[in-house]
Symmetry: C2
Subunit: 243 residues, 2 copies
Amino acid sequence: MKHPNCPQCPLRRSAVFKQADKAALSFIQKMKTGHQRIPAGHEVIREGDADPRVYTLYSGWAFRYKTLSDGRRQILNFLLPGDLIGFQAQMFDAAPHAVQTLTEAELCVMSRRSIWSLFEASPELAFDATWLTAHEEGVVDDNLLTVGRRNATERIAALLMYLYRRARAIDLLERDALALPITQAHIADALGLSLVHTNKSLRRLHRLNICHFSHGRLVMLDPRAMRTMADYFDSPIAQRPLI
Amino acid sequence: MKHPNCPQCPLRRSAVFKQADKAALSFIQKMKTGHQRIPAGHEVIREGDADPRVYTLYSGWAFRYKTLSDGRRQILNFLLPGDLIGFQAQMFDAAPHAVQTLTEAELCVMSRRSIWSLFEASPELAFDATWLTAHEEGVVDDNLLTVGRRNATERIAALLMYLYRRARAIDLLERDALALPITQAHIADALGLSLVHTNKSLRRLHRLNICHFSHGRLVMLDPRAMRTMADYFDSPIAQRPLI
DNA sequence: CGGCGGCTTGACTAAATTCAAATACCGTGG
DNA sequence: CCACGGTATTTGAATTTAGTCAAGCCGCCG
């Protein structure tokens, strides 16, 4: 597939992404070796993969997850356009988690050695990559707080709030609704809940006119109640680097 | 307090830590601006602290945590000698989590701008710092899997197994026992359980002759059963950088 | 000795899971 | 257009797990 033109990348038009200077852009361009289209529901990285590639999600949704040997699955985080995929994995012997697409997705593929060259050639970009790693860690910290200390309804409110804000930041809203390409099973697996209980809690949020999610559409009916319910702190979404 | 001598640091004698070359060592030495001793049970970093410092834990135990506004606390991870403290926080506006000591602890204090200088001056050390960040993220991923998808006994087994292995890696065992400076309340807060239920599960593990933890002493009675119970994967502990 | 923090236990309650079954939605092929 | 099959959602009931409340105990320190 044709190489994308990084300096012209439409993602960069979004205000969430930090401006990159000429040098950085040309370096990023050099790191990219291809562009890949993956259908919905496919694995981008398998748990345990040796030497997996590094990608940037260009379009579509995906998620990171881990499984226990008896099949129980825990979703660690959801991935949206602009997210780096497989960067942590590249630093170790094998991928510590799997990544699967939720929708058809386009990926920018990085050359295998680009990680190291990043550190050698560009302190700024190395810093950016580290920033993204630290940021991802922060998100998982938040999720751990959610799963460990919030009850079912609070968990759902916190997760939906988070996804809503992330999607809004990259202009993925249509009016007041959001097309969330996930099922209730994904919500359950992200929050450490059973599918049935997830459904019941979701219905409760709907009954209370707080939010409505079904068939992949999320509508925030009462954002304020949502925030209260989730004990959600509005850390202003920082500008993030795009590599 | 007297500056420590990094090249002679006794921590570096442990086989878990990667060899650092002369240049790296001297740079690390330059970054260190002091050495600090903190009593047990004190906060090193408070949630929300603006511009917190970066430290390396030199001796003692600590833990990272977050709280909800009504006081519910979630421990994110435990910190042992060699761990970086506050590195992620330094990259953002404010510390996203707090850090508290479990024992008296000694900290190597880094100069405030050292993070950035690291990236500028030494690709190797920058890579190491990123590696540590990515590694920490991996641990939180594991914890999220534990809290989200394991039941109470499995959670406890997984946590104790993890702490045991970490402590062993830096030669903190005394015979087959480990001095774990935590209370059952810490275990509960790390695993998203109530104190009472934690106690009951711990007693069950003891009754089954799998492990025994009380008064800060952990004895592994049946490591194999422990592993099975926790569905624990023995990823060989990699050599890690020490900054 | 008294007090305090941490551990232990039992009884009760609440939350979440499991099981089971019905219903709605969506794309395919007749 | 409708029937069909598969996936996703919804609901109720029974069960299990974990949380809450309350009290007693243990060990240590002043």
